[in-house]
Symmetry: C2
Subunit: 234 residues, 2 copies
Protein backbone atom coordinates (compact mmCIF):
# COMPACT_ATOMS: atom_id res chain seq x y z
CA UNK A 1 0.00 0.00 0.00
CA UNK A 2 2.37 2.74 1.17
CA UNK A 3 5.67 0.93 1.13
CA UNK A 4 8.61 3.04 0.01
CA UNK A 5 7.69 6.57 0.91
CA UNK A 6 10.20 7.48 3.65
CA UNK A 7 13.19 5.65 2.21
CA UNK A 8 15.59 4.66 4.99
CA UNK A 9 14.08 4.99 8.49
CA UNK A 10 14.11 1.56 10.07
CA UNK A 11 10.83 0.66 11.74
CA UNK A 12 10.69 1.27 15.47
CA UNK A 13 10.30 -1.55 17.95
CA UNK A 14 6.72 -0.42 18.47
CA UNK A 15 5.94 -0.77 14.78
CA UNK A 16 7.64 -4.13 14.59
CA UNK A 17 5.62 -5.29 17.58
CA UNK A 18 2.39 -4.15 15.95
CA UNK A 19 3.18 -6.26 12.92
CA UNK A 20 4.20 -9.20 15.09
CA UNK A 21 0.89 -9.13 16.94
CA UNK A 22 -1.06 -8.77 13.69
CA UNK A 23 0.73 -11.80 12.32
CA UNK A 24 0.19 -13.69 15.54
CA UNK A 25 -3.53 -13.07 15.35
CA UNK A 26 -3.64 -14.12 11.71
CA UNK A 27 -1.73 -17.35 12.13
CA UNK A 28 -3.42 -18.41 15.33
CA UNK A 29 -0.67 -17.71 17.86
CA UNK A 30 -3.17 -15.51 19.66
CA UNK A 31 -6.55 -17.14 20.18
CA UNK A 32 -9.61 -14.91 20.61
CA UNK A 33 -10.83 -14.81 24.19
CA UNK A 34 -7.57 -16.00 25.75
CA UNK A 35 -5.76 -13.69 28.18
CA UNK A 36 -2.19 -12.63 27.39
CA UNK A 37 0.19 -10.31 29.20
CA UNK A 38 2.60 -7.59 28.17
CA UNK A 39 5.32 -9.14 30.33
CA UNK A 40 5.26 -12.45 28.54
CA UNK A 41 4.94 -10.98 25.05
CA UNK A 42 7.85 -8.64 25.70
CA UNK A 43 9.97 -11.59 26.78
CA UNK A 44 9.03 -13.63 23.74
CA UNK A 45 9.83 -10.78 21.38
CA UNK A 46 13.05 -9.96 23.21
CA UNK A 47 12.17 -6.32 23.83
CA UNK A 48 11.08 -4.35 26.85
CA UNK A 49 7.51 -3.77 27.94
CA UNK A 50 7.37 -0.17 26.71
CA UNK A 51 7.19 -0.69 22.94
CA UNK A 52 4.97 -3.71 23.44
CA UNK A 53 2.57 -1.71 25.53
CA UNK A 54 2.50 1.10 22.97
CA UNK A 55 1.81 -1.37 20.20
CA UNK A 56 -1.05 -2.97 22.12
CA UNK A 57 -2.58 0.41 22.93
CA UNK A 58 -2.64 1.29 19.26
CA UNK A 59 -4.14 -2.04 18.26
CA UNK A 60 -6.70 -1.74 21.03
CA UNK A 61 -7.87 1.51 19.48
CA UNK A 62 -8.76 -0.25 16.27
CA UNK A 63 -10.86 -2.68 18.27
CA UNK A 64 -8.99 -5.83 17.31
CA UNK A 65 -7.99 -6.43 20.92
CA UNK A 66 -9.09 -5.30 24.35
CA UNK A 67 -6.88 -4.36 27.30
CA UNK A 68 -8.21 -5.22 30.74
CA UNK A 69 -6.75 -3.32 33.63
CA UNK A 70 -4.49 -5.45 35.83
CA UNK A 71 -5.58 -8.57 33.93
CA UNK A 72 -4.05 -8.61 30.48
CA UNK A 73 -5.20 -8.24 26.91
CA UNK A 74 -7.20 -10.48 24.61
CA UNK A 75 -8.06 -10.69 20.97
CA UNK A 76 -11.73 -9.95 20.43
CA UNK A 77 -13.94 -11.16 17.64
CA UNK A 78 -16.37 -8.46 16.57
CA UNK A 79 -19.99 -9.08 17.43
CA UNK A 80 -22.79 -8.86 14.89
CA UNK A 81 -23.57 -5.26 15.65
CA UNK A 82 -19.96 -4.14 15.41
CA UNK A 83 -19.60 -5.93 12.11
CA UNK A 84 -22.68 -4.23 10.75
CA UNK A 85 -21.30 -0.87 11.85
CA UNK A 86 -18.00 -1.58 10.17
CA UNK A 87 -19.62 -2.65 6.93
CA UNK A 88 -21.71 0.51 6.96
CA UNK A 89 -18.52 2.56 7.13
CA UNK A 90 -16.89 0.52 4.39
CA UNK A 91 -19.87 1.01 2.10
CA UNK A 92 -19.98 4.74 2.77
CA UNK A 93 -16.28 5.16 2.00
CA UNK A 94 -15.38 2.47 -0.51
CA UNK A 95 -18.26 3.03 -2.91
CA UNK A 96 -17.32 6.62 -3.76
CA UNK A 97 -13.65 5.61 -3.65
CA UNK A 98 -14.26 3.01 -6.34
CA UNK A 99 -15.98 5.64 -8.48
CA UNK A 100 -13.05 7.99 -8.15
CA UNK A 101 -10.58 5.18 -8.78
CA UNK A 102 -12.32 4.39 -12.04
CA UNK A 103 -12.06 7.99 -13.15
CA UNK A 104 -8.44 8.47 -12.11
CA UNK A 105 -6.85 5.12 -13.01
CA UNK A 106 -4.15 5.00 -15.67
CA UNK A 107 -3.25 1.96 -17.81
CA UNK A 108 -0.42 1.00 -15.44
CA UNK A 109 -2.94 0.94 -12.62
CA UNK A 110 -5.12 -1.39 -14.65
CA UNK A 111 -2.15 -3.73 -14.83
CA UNK A 112 -1.69 -3.72 -11.05
CA UNK A 113 -5.37 -4.47 -10.56
CA UNK A 114 -5.21 -7.32 -13.03
CA UNK A 115 -2.29 -8.89 -11.17
CA UNK A 116 -4.26 -9.01 -7.94
CA UNK A 117 -7.41 -10.20 -9.64
CA UNK A 118 -5.53 -13.07 -11.22
CA UNK A 119 -3.89 -13.96 -7.92
CA UNK A 120 -7.35 -14.11 -6.36
CA UNK A 121 -8.44 -16.44 -9.12
CA UNK A 122 -5.47 -18.70 -8.47
CA UNK A 123 -6.36 -18.77 -4.77
CA UNK A 124 -9.90 -19.82 -5.63
CA UNK A 125 -8.63 -22.68 -7.73
CA UNK A 126 -6.19 -23.73 -5.02
CA UNK A 127 -8.83 -23.31 -2.32
CA UNK A 128 -6.39 -21.20 -0.31
CA UNK A 129 -8.49 -18.91 1.88
CA UNK A 130 -5.48 -17.12 3.35
CA UNK A 131 -4.09 -16.17 -0.04
CA UNK A 132 -7.55 -15.23 -1.25
CA UNK A 133 -8.07 -12.83 1.63
CA UNK A 134 -4.61 -11.36 1.13
CA UNK A 135 -5.16 -10.49 -2.52
CA UNK A 136 -8.72 -9.40 -1.89
CA UNK A 137 -7.30 -6.97 0.63
CA UNK A 138 -4.63 -5.80 -1.80
CA UNK A 139 -7.14 -5.22 -4.55
CA UNK A 140 -9.33 -3.11 -2.29
CA UNK A 141 -6.20 -1.31 -1.11
CA UNK A 142 -5.18 -0.52 -4.68
CA UNK A 143 -8.57 0.97 -5.41
CA UNK A 144 -8.36 3.11 -2.28
CA UNK A 145 -4.87 4.29 -3.22
CA UNK A 146 -6.13 5.24 -6.66
CA UNK A 147 -8.92 7.29 -5.14
CA UNK A 148 -6.17 9.40 -3.58
CA UNK A 149 -7.58 9.95 -0.09
CA UNK A 150 -5.01 8.79 2.46
CA UNK A 151 -7.44 9.24 5.35
CA UNK A 152 -9.91 6.86 3.78
CA UNK A 153 -7.16 4.32 3.19
CA UNK A 154 -6.04 4.46 6.80
CA UNK A 155 -9.56 4.19 8.21
CA UNK A 156 -10.41 1.17 6.11
CA UNK A 157 -7.15 -0.58 6.95
CA UNK A 158 -7.82 -0.15 10.65
CA UNK A 159 -11.32 -1.55 10.29
CA UNK A 160 -9.99 -4.53 8.40
CA UNK A 161 -7.84 -5.50 11.39
CA UNK A 162 -10.96 -5.93 13.46
CA UNK A 163 -12.72 -8.11 10.90
CA UNK A 164 -9.98 -10.25 9.39
CA UNK A 165 -10.59 -13.25 11.62
CA UNK A 166 -14.30 -13.28 10.87
CA UNK A 167 -13.54 -13.10 7.16
CA UNK A 168 -11.20 -16.04 7.39
CA UNK A 169 -13.61 -18.31 9.24
CA UNK A 170 -16.45 -17.25 6.97
CA UNK A 171 -14.49 -18.19 3.88
CA UNK A 172 -13.49 -21.48 5.45
CA UNK A 173 -17.05 -22.38 6.36
CA UNK A 174 -19.07 -21.15 3.44
CA UNK A 175 -16.80 -22.43 0.68
CA UNK A 176 -17.94 -19.48 -1.36
CA UNK A 177 -14.57 -18.19 -2.51
CA UNK A 178 -15.64 -18.34 -6.12
CA UNK A 179 -18.83 -16.42 -5.45
CA UNK A 180 -16.95 -13.61 -3.74
CA UNK A 181 -14.32 -13.62 -6.46
CA UNK A 182 -16.96 -13.11 -9.14
CA UNK A 183 -18.28 -10.04 -7.34
CA UNK A 184 -14.95 -8.34 -7.97
CA UNK A 185 -15.06 -8.81 -11.73
CA UNK A 186 -17.59 -6.07 -12.50
CA UNK A 187 -15.65 -3.69 -10.25
CA UNK A 188 -12.38 -4.25 -12.08
CA UNK A 189 -13.94 -4.10 -15.52
CA UNK A 190 -15.78 -0.88 -14.69
CA UNK A 191 -12.50 0.66 -13.54
CA UNK A 192 -10.84 -0.45 -16.77
CA UNK A 193 -13.65 1.20 -18.75
CA UNK A 194 -13.30 4.33 -16.62
CA UNK A 195 -16.97 4.05 -15.69
CA UNK A 196 -17.17 5.61 -12.23
CA UNK A 197 -20.85 5.04 -11.66
CA UNK A 198 -20.67 1.37 -12.57
CA UNK A 199 -17.58 0.85 -10.42
CA UNK A 200 -19.32 2.37 -7.42
CA UNK A 201 -22.43 0.28 -7.90
CA UNK A 202 -20.45 -2.92 -8.35
CA UNK A 203 -18.51 -2.14 -5.19
CA UNK A 204 -21.75 -1.54 -3.32
CA UNK A 205 -23.20 -4.86 -4.45
CA UNK A 206 -19.99 -6.63 -3.43
CA UNK A 207 -19.79 -5.06 0.01
CA UNK A 208 -23.47 -5.62 0.75
CA UNK A 209 -23.29 -9.24 -0.29
CA UNK A 210 -20.06 -9.93 1.59
CA UNK A 211 -21.31 -7.97 4.57
CA UNK A 212 -24.41 -10.14 4.87
CA UNK A 213 -22.23 -13.23 4.67
CA UNK A 214 -19.97 -11.99 7.47
CA UNK A 215 -22.94 -10.94 9.57
CA UNK A 216 -24.57 -14.34 9.38
CA UNK A 217 -21.28 -15.93 10.41
CA UNK A 218 -20.82 -13.65 13.41
CA UNK A 219 -24.44 -13.57 14.53
CA UNK A 220 -25.33 -15.31 17.77
CA UNK A 221 -28.64 -16.73 18.93
CA UNK A 222 -30.28 -13.44 19.72
CA UNK A 223 -28.93 -11.31 16.88
CA UNK A 224 -31.48 -10.32 14.28
CA UNK A 225 -29.26 -9.96 11.22
CA UNK A 226 -31.92 -8.39 9.06
CA UNK A 227 -32.87 -5.84 11.69
CA UNK A 228 -29.23 -4.84 12.18
CA UNK A 229 -28.78 -4.54 8.45
CA UNK A 230 -31.86 -2.40 8.08
CA UNK A 231 -30.84 -0.13 10.96
CA UNK A 232 -27.26 0.49 9.92
CA UNK A 233 -26.94 -0.04 6.20
CA UNK A 234 -30.30 0.58 4.54
Amino acid sequence: MSSVVHPGRPPSLTERTIEAVRDGVRNGTFVPGELYSVYRLADELGVSRSPVREALLRLAETGMLAIERNRGFRVVLPGARELAEIMAVRIALEVPAASRAARLAKPSDHDSLRVEREAMQQAVVAGDEGAFLLHDQRLHGLLLDLAGNAHVTRIIENLRDATRLVGLSTMKNSRSLDEVYREHLPIVSAVERGDGRAAGEAMRRHLESTGRLLLREAAGENDDVNALWAELIR
Copy 2:
Protein backbone atom coordinates in the same frame (compact mmCIF):
# COMPACT_ATOMS: atom_id res chain seq x y z
CA MET B 1 -21.70 12.26 23.61
CA SER B 2 -21.04 9.04 25.53
CA SER B 3 -20.83 10.28 29.08
CA VAL B 4 -22.26 7.92 31.69
CA VAL B 5 -21.72 4.46 30.32
CA HIS B 6 -19.12 2.92 32.65
CA PRO B 7 -20.27 4.55 35.89
CA GLY B 8 -17.32 4.78 38.26
CA ARG B 9 -13.96 4.23 36.56
CA PRO B 10 -11.94 7.41 37.02
CA PRO B 11 -10.16 8.52 33.85
CA SER B 12 -6.55 7.40 33.57
CA LEU B 13 -3.68 9.87 33.56
CA THR B 14 -3.28 9.20 29.85
CA GLU B 15 -6.88 10.17 29.18
CA ARG B 16 -6.60 13.25 31.34
CA THR B 17 -3.46 14.25 29.48
CA ILE B 18 -5.21 13.84 26.13
CA GLU B 19 -7.91 16.22 27.24
CA ALA B 20 -5.36 18.64 28.66
CA VAL B 21 -3.51 18.78 25.36
CA ARG B 22 -6.75 19.18 23.41
CA ASP B 23 -7.71 22.08 25.64
CA GLY B 24 -4.25 23.55 25.35
CA VAL B 25 -4.48 23.51 21.59
CA ARG B 26 -7.93 25.07 21.66
CA ASN B 27 -7.06 27.90 24.01
CA GLY B 28 -3.71 28.73 22.47
CA THR B 29 -1.34 27.28 25.06
CA PHE B 30 0.13 25.23 22.24
CA VAL B 31 0.92 27.23 19.13
CA PRO B 32 1.04 25.43 15.77
CA GLY B 33 4.59 25.00 14.51
CA GLU B 34 6.28 25.47 17.88
CA LEU B 35 8.35 22.60 19.31
CA TYR B 36 7.38 21.15 22.70
CA SER B 37 8.84 18.29 24.71
CA VAL B 38 7.39 15.43 26.69
CA TYR B 39 9.71 16.23 29.60
CA ARG B 40 8.40 19.75 30.04
CA LEU B 41 4.76 18.87 29.52
CA ALA B 42 5.02 16.05 32.06
CA ASP B 43 6.49 18.49 34.58
CA GLU B 44 3.78 21.05 33.98
CA LEU B 45 1.03 18.48 34.37
CA GLY B 46 2.69 16.97 37.43
CA VAL B 47 2.79 13.44 36.03
CA SER B 48 5.51 11.22 34.64
CA ARG B 49 6.55 11.02 31.02
CA SER B 50 4.81 7.69 30.37
CA PRO B 51 1.16 8.75 30.31
CA VAL B 52 2.12 11.96 28.53
CA ARG B 53 3.93 10.05 25.85
CA GLU B 54 1.01 7.67 25.41
CA ALA B 55 -1.39 10.59 25.10
CA LEU B 56 0.77 12.29 22.48
CA LEU B 57 1.10 9.08 20.49
CA ARG B 58 -2.65 8.75 20.35
CA LEU B 59 -3.15 12.36 19.35
CA ALA B 60 -0.43 12.06 16.73
CA GLU B 61 -2.40 9.26 15.12
CA THR B 62 -5.34 11.58 14.56
CA GLY B 63 -3.01 13.99 12.78
CA MET B 64 -3.51 16.93 15.11
CA LEU B 65 0.14 16.84 16.14
CA ALA B 66 3.39 15.40 14.86
CA ILE B 67 6.14 13.73 16.88
CA GLU B 68 9.68 14.28 15.64
CA ARG B 69 12.26 11.78 16.76
CA ASN B 70 14.74 13.25 19.26
CA ARG B 71 13.30 16.72 18.68
CA GLY B 72 9.88 17.03 20.25
CA PHE B 73 6.30 17.37 19.10
CA ARG B 74 4.37 20.16 17.47
CA VAL B 75 0.78 21.02 16.68
CA VAL B 76 0.17 20.91 12.96
CA LEU B 77 -2.40 22.82 10.96
CA PRO B 78 -3.81 20.68 8.18
CA GLY B 79 -2.86 21.70 4.67
CA ALA B 80 -5.39 22.26 1.91
CA ARG B 81 -5.15 18.71 0.62
CA GLU B 82 -5.56 17.14 4.03
CA LEU B 83 -8.54 19.33 4.71
CA ALA B 84 -10.15 18.30 1.43
CA GLU B 85 -9.56 14.66 2.28
CA ILE B 86 -11.13 15.11 5.69
CA MET B 87 -14.17 16.87 4.28
CA ALA B 88 -14.59 14.06 1.77
CA VAL B 89 -14.73 11.57 4.63
CA ARG B 90 -17.16 13.72 6.59
CA ILE B 91 -19.47 14.00 3.60
CA ALA B 92 -19.36 10.28 2.94
CA LEU B 93 -20.20 9.44 6.56
CA GLU B 94 -22.29 12.31 7.89
CA VAL B 95 -24.74 12.53 4.99
CA PRO B 96 -26.11 8.99 5.43
CA ALA B 97 -25.86 9.43 9.21
CA ALA B 98 -28.14 12.46 9.03
CA SER B 99 -30.64 10.44 7.00
CA ARG B 100 -30.65 7.67 9.55
CA ALA B 101 -30.87 10.14 12.41
CA ALA B 102 -33.99 11.65 10.85
CA ARG B 103 -35.60 8.24 10.62
CA LEU B 104 -34.65 7.11 14.13
CA ALA B 105 -35.07 10.30 16.20
CA LYS B 106 -37.68 10.39 18.94
CA PRO B 107 -39.35 13.55 20.30
CA SER B 108 -36.90 13.73 23.19
CA ASP B 109 -34.08 13.74 20.65
CA HIS B 110 -35.74 16.64 18.86
CA ASP B 111 -35.59 18.53 22.13
CA SER B 112 -31.86 17.90 22.51
CA LEU B 113 -31.26 19.10 18.98
CA ARG B 114 -33.29 22.23 19.59
CA VAL B 115 -31.23 23.06 22.66
CA GLU B 116 -28.00 22.99 20.68
CA ARG B 117 -29.51 24.86 17.76
CA GLU B 118 -30.68 27.63 20.06
CA ALA B 119 -27.30 27.79 21.75
CA MET B 120 -25.72 28.20 18.33
CA GLN B 121 -28.10 31.03 17.62
CA GLN B 122 -27.13 32.73 20.88
CA ALA B 123 -23.47 32.40 19.94
CA VAL B 124 -24.16 34.06 16.59
CA VAL B 125 -25.85 36.99 18.31
CA ALA B 126 -23.00 37.25 20.82
CA GLY B 127 -20.38 36.85 18.10
CA ASP B 128 -18.70 34.14 20.18
CA GLU B 129 -16.85 31.91 17.72
CA GLY B 130 -15.68 29.51 20.42
CA ALA B 131 -19.18 28.86 21.72
CA PHE B 132 -20.49 28.61 18.18
CA LEU B 133 -18.00 25.92 17.27
CA LEU B 134 -18.71 24.04 20.50
CA HIS B 135 -22.43 23.81 19.89
CA ASP B 136 -21.96 23.17 16.20
CA GLN B 137 -19.81 20.21 17.21
CA ARG B 138 -22.40 19.03 19.74
CA LEU B 139 -25.20 19.21 17.22
CA HIS B 140 -23.26 17.15 14.71
CA GLY B 141 -22.36 14.77 17.52
CA LEU B 142 -26.01 14.35 18.49
CA LEU B 143 -26.95 13.49 14.93
CA LEU B 144 -24.16 10.92 14.78
CA ASP B 145 -25.26 9.39 18.07
CA LEU B 146 -28.80 9.13 16.75
CA ALA B 147 -27.59 7.31 13.68
CA GLY B 148 -26.36 4.64 16.06
CA ASN B 149 -22.97 3.79 14.53
CA ALA B 150 -20.28 4.20 17.18
CA HIS B 151 -17.49 3.69 14.66
CA VAL B 152 -18.69 6.61 12.59
CA THR B 153 -18.93 8.78 15.68
CA ARG B 154 -15.38 7.97 16.70
CA ILE B 155 -13.93 8.53 13.25
CA ILE B 156 -15.58 11.92 12.86
CA GLU B 157 -14.51 13.03 16.32
CA ASN B 158 -10.91 12.19 15.54
CA LEU B 159 -11.05 14.11 12.30
CA ARG B 160 -12.50 17.10 14.05
CA ASP B 161 -9.43 17.31 16.28
CA ALA B 162 -7.30 17.88 13.22
CA THR B 163 -9.50 20.66 11.83
CA ARG B 164 -10.67 22.56 14.86
CA LEU B 165 -8.06 25.26 14.67
CA VAL B 166 -8.77 25.94 11.01
CA GLY B 167 -12.46 26.17 11.81
CA LEU B 168 -11.81 28.69 14.52
CA SER B 169 -9.65 30.98 12.44
CA THR B 170 -12.04 30.68 9.51
CA MET B 171 -14.96 31.77 11.62
CA LYS B 172 -12.95 34.61 13.07
CA ASN B 173 -11.90 35.87 9.67
CA SER B 174 -14.96 35.39 7.54
CA ARG B 175 -17.52 36.72 10.03
CA SER B 176 -19.97 34.28 8.52
CA LEU B 177 -21.30 32.70 11.70
CA ASP B 178 -24.84 33.51 10.71
CA GLU B 179 -24.45 31.99 7.28
CA VAL B 180 -23.15 28.73 8.70
CA TYR B 181 -25.86 28.75 11.36
CA ARG B 182 -28.58 29.02 8.71
CA GLU B 183 -27.23 25.94 6.95
CA HIS B 184 -28.12 23.90 10.00
CA LEU B 185 -31.78 24.91 10.03
CA PRO B 186 -32.93 22.69 7.14
CA ILE B 187 -31.03 19.77 8.67
CA VAL B 188 -32.77 20.11 12.03
CA SER B 189 -36.20 20.68 10.53
CA ALA B 190 -35.83 17.67 8.23
CA VAL B 191 -34.93 15.53 11.24
CA GLU B 192 -37.97 16.84 13.10
CA ARG B 193 -40.16 15.92 10.12
CA GLY B 194 -38.50 12.50 9.98
CA ASP B 195 -37.53 13.18 6.37
CA GLY B 196 -34.35 11.19 5.89
CA ARG B 197 -33.67 12.19 2.31
CA ALA B 198 -34.05 15.90 3.03
CA ALA B 199 -31.85 15.63 6.12
CA GLY B 200 -29.12 13.98 4.12
CA GLU B 201 -29.26 16.53 1.35
CA ALA B 202 -29.26 19.46 3.78
CA MET B 203 -26.24 17.94 5.52
CA ARG B 204 -24.47 17.57 2.20
CA ARG B 205 -25.10 21.19 1.27
CA HIS B 206 -23.86 22.31 4.68
CA LEU B 207 -20.67 20.24 4.60
CA GLU B 208 -19.85 21.22 1.03
CA SER B 209 -20.36 24.89 1.72
CA THR B 210 -18.41 24.84 4.98
CA GLY B 211 -15.75 22.67 3.41
CA ARG B 212 -15.11 25.19 0.65
CA LEU B 213 -14.88 27.92 3.26
CA LEU B 214 -12.30 26.00 5.28
CA LEU B 215 -10.36 25.08 2.16
CA ARG B 216 -10.05 28.68 1.03
CA GLU B 217 -8.81 29.61 4.50
CA ALA B 218 -6.19 26.87 4.57
CA ALA B 219 -5.06 27.15 0.96
CA GLY B 220 -1.61 28.53 0.27
CA GLU B 221 -0.26 30.24 -2.81
CA ASN B 222 0.08 27.13 -4.91
CA ASP B 223 -3.05 25.25 -3.84
CA ASP B 224 -5.76 25.04 -6.45
CA VAL B 225 -8.84 24.81 -4.25
CA ASN B 226 -11.20 23.97 -7.08
CA ALA B 227 -8.95 21.22 -8.43
CA LEU B 228 -8.63 19.65 -4.99
CA TRP B 229 -12.36 19.82 -4.51
CA ALA B 230 -13.02 18.23 -7.86
CA GLU B 231 -10.51 15.45 -7.24
CA LEU B 232 -11.63 14.47 -3.77
CA ILE B 233 -15.25 15.47 -3.32
CA ARG B 234 -16.94 15.63 -6.71
